[in-house]
Symmetry: C2
């Protein structure tokens, strides 16, 4: 019995492969690849640096290429296909679901995509073009058009005989779709019901009613619906209720993963397509932009500090202590920010509970401000033997923790309203706020008392 | 036809409910709740502050309570059940899958759990105890024990007649499980095959071989396997290959979501169980600990700055510029750290490609260091009309970006080896490193040149 493959085993395999690649033992690699499943090979390729990826791809048996291609991400699949001709591409994607095929097509140069579409037969081209008519991040873009439809007025027995004429049914078929004369969706007939109900019963009597998803629904809302209702597949309809296709859970899992990935990566100024193994120059260019944006905020903070140069010259201890105020504000604000961004992504946080959440976060900021400013103030007063200095530090910290809570809770909602992605820009703006307020409140209060 | 509910609609509903709760219009709320699905009610409850949660729970019709309970998270379900007696609990969880029931039981006080188990009939107690025998985050803890098994030597026709004797089949039944005389798993029979193959065929001829997951496999590895192979359900076996149950995709989606949530929340010093709507004092306590830890690192940075007090007194411009070096190091290091932590979670990054990745990240850090230190140095030299100051700042920034890349890429792997969660502690340690190195390299170089 085959055992499940753990991430540890992948690393071991990768080790062996990279070693064999380095020593040019290509025949050995070919033999090893033949013993692996397409999904395992795909993961190995995705975990390899660029040069090794190309080599591995060339070493796969020709007849396995199509299957491996199904499991690598679209960008990489398009990269491997970039120099192939239309005929080659068509034979490689034969086993693809219609939705995966449509996604891959969109990654190819437009001329190539057109050529591939033109060489499909009418039925297949129609299927793919139905999907391409909707943006990739909507229910229409996610759906698969390969489904089995039946009429409500026939008996289960007729359905059973109809199915027996098939060579195979589409993967993950759990329901048959019931449509009326004009193609409008009326319900689903689960295979389980087909198996246990009296064959004399009509489809209409045996079928379940089910929610159909409008094709224009956003992928994010589709994912939330699948999660909430524990769905495996769901029918997709157009504006007139006509059945277009169905969405299967494996595509929804990808949406969920990308969404989660998006929040995590955006908060560090990267996007979810960031490839760990991209070439150095490409990575450098992408990161440089982010560092440049952050540099602007760093200079703004420096400019603010510069305003208090006179005070700093008099009391150099202020320079020693000032990073504490800014950094604690940044940490506290970032916690609130992350919580609210996650809450918004899960659909728990919005305008209805915004005021409640804001009040709560400010209360937490105030309580923690009281607690830690007392500690910090006491330590600073002892360290520099200056009670006034401790008091100024404590007061600045309370101010900054309050501002951090306010900014952390309100920024994501304000940015979202302005159509800006809070996960991407929230952190930079927050840090700018907590740095500027942190330095100004501390040095400003100090200027008042030491002037 | 019911339409899918978007997160926007949830917020609108929440608005209406909170308003109705405030004005005490309980009858109106009851009527509105009756028009919603259990999943919608559950989401509404999870999106409400504590007081509103309790009220909403009390306003649900008694007969709907069990269904709503299935859709709220375990902690909240256990909270609602905390004052109910055994009989009540049993009737409320009647519709639960065995695995969800087991998860909920583990959230209840031990005595209550024991009482509930003791009042189950033998078959059900055996089922639940099989699941409880494995930790919650393993395949055994995730599995559902309600499955249909058949023998390999009977004909499909016998299977069809056997199924017709059932009132209903378990939810998400896509395959029947084939086991031998001693209960060992030998393969699966997809319902689709049962419907299209010749009824005279034997199960052995029609069945597919399939990977069975050992019950001790970690939930994370199970999730990776489902993602990679696009599975909907998978059989679970014990050490002897005996079939114990099956894992369904809806439980795996929860694992995937928790995993992604874990990285995001941990990096801000929170955990994935953090409840956006927890009471103020509880949130304050949790966050206070994290602020305290970060305070230690802030004081360490201050201590380092304090070592250069003499230099700062001479050249106050150093105090103005020093946050730039530390902050740019922190930003750059955090990007590398996030990328590596994500790569590790996806199973792409490990010992085999560690050296390659380290080299790459250091190259990126060096190139960006050259670029931005030139910019920063030029600006500083112009601002303070001091070429030497610009040079010192540029040199310190190159050093800190190199150290940031080194720390960002190596910390997650070192921490993981030491059994420490990199997502939780990686950021704090990284910031400590980039702050200390940033301040020390800048002020240290300045001391050398201005002394």
């Amino acid at each position: 019995m085959a055992k499940s493959q753990t991430s540890h085993e992948t690393q071991d395999q990768l080790h062996t492969f990279l070693h064999a690649l380095d020593s040019g033992a290509f025949d050995e690699i070919r033999r090893m690849l033949r013993g692996m499943s397409p999904a395992e090979i795909a993961k190995l390729i995705e975990s390899s640096p660029l040069r090794a990826r190309n080599l591995l791809w060339q070493l796969i048996d020709k007849e396995d290429e199509g299957e491996v291609l199904q499991y690598v991400n679209e960008e990489l699949a398009a990269y491997f296909l970039r120099h192939r001709n239309t005929e080659d591409i068509l034979s490689l994607v034969e086993g693809f679901d219609a939705d995966d095929f449509a996604d891959l097509l969109q990654e190819l140069p437009h001329a190539v995509m057109r050529q591939v579409l033109d060489s499909l037969d009418d039925q297949n081209r129609y299927r793919i073009e139905t999907i391409l008519a909707y943006p990739e991040d909507t229910a229409g873009g996610l759906m698969d058009t390969d489904i089995i439809t039946i009429r409500p007025d026939i008996s289960l027995d007729v359905v059973l005989r109809y199915l027996r004429r098939h060579e195979s049914l589409p993967d993950t078929t759990d329901n048959l779709h019931v449509v009326n004369r004009t193609g409008q969706f009326v319900g689903i007939l689960p295979l389980t019901k087909l198996l246990i109900k009296d064959p004399g019963m009509s489809v209409r009597e045996a079928m379940n009613s089910a929610k159909a998803i409008p094709a224009t629904t956003s992928a994010r809302d589709v994912a939330q619906m699948f999660e909430r209702e524990d769905l495996v597949t769901a029918p997709v309809v157009d504006d007139n209720g006509v059945l277009l296709g169905r969405i299967t859970i494996d595509d929804v899992v990808d949406v969920i993963l990308e969404g989660a990935d998006h929040s995590l990566m955006s908060m560090a100024g990267m996007d979810e397509d960031e490839d760990t193994f991209a070439p150095v120059w490409k990575t450098t260019r992408r990161r440089a932009v982010w560092l440049g944006i952050n540099l602007l905020t760093a200079f703004l903070a420096s400019y603010m500090i510069g305003l208090f140069e006179g005070t700093l010259e008099k009391v150099v201890a202020l320079a020693v202590l000032m990073p504490i105020v800014a950094s604690m504000g940044g940490i506290a604000g970032n916690q609130t920010l992350t919580l609210v961004i996650r809450g918004m992504a899960l659909g728990h946080v919005g305008t209805a509970n915004a005021r409640w959440l804001l009040t709560k976060e400010i209360s937490v900021g105030f309580l923690n401000g009281i607690l830690w400013s007392a500690v910090v103030g006491a330590i600073a007063a002892t360290w520099f033997n200056d009670l006034l200095l401790g008091g100024v530090l404590a007061a600045a910290m309370i101010i900054n923790l309050l501002v951090a809570a306010l900014a952390g809770a309100s920024l994501p909602m304000l940015l979202d309203k302005a159509g800006i992605d809070p996960a991407l820009s929230g952190g930079v703006i927050l840090t700018t706020v907590t740095d500027v307020v942190g330095f100004c409140s501390f040095l400003g209060l100090a200027t008042l008392y030491y002037a």
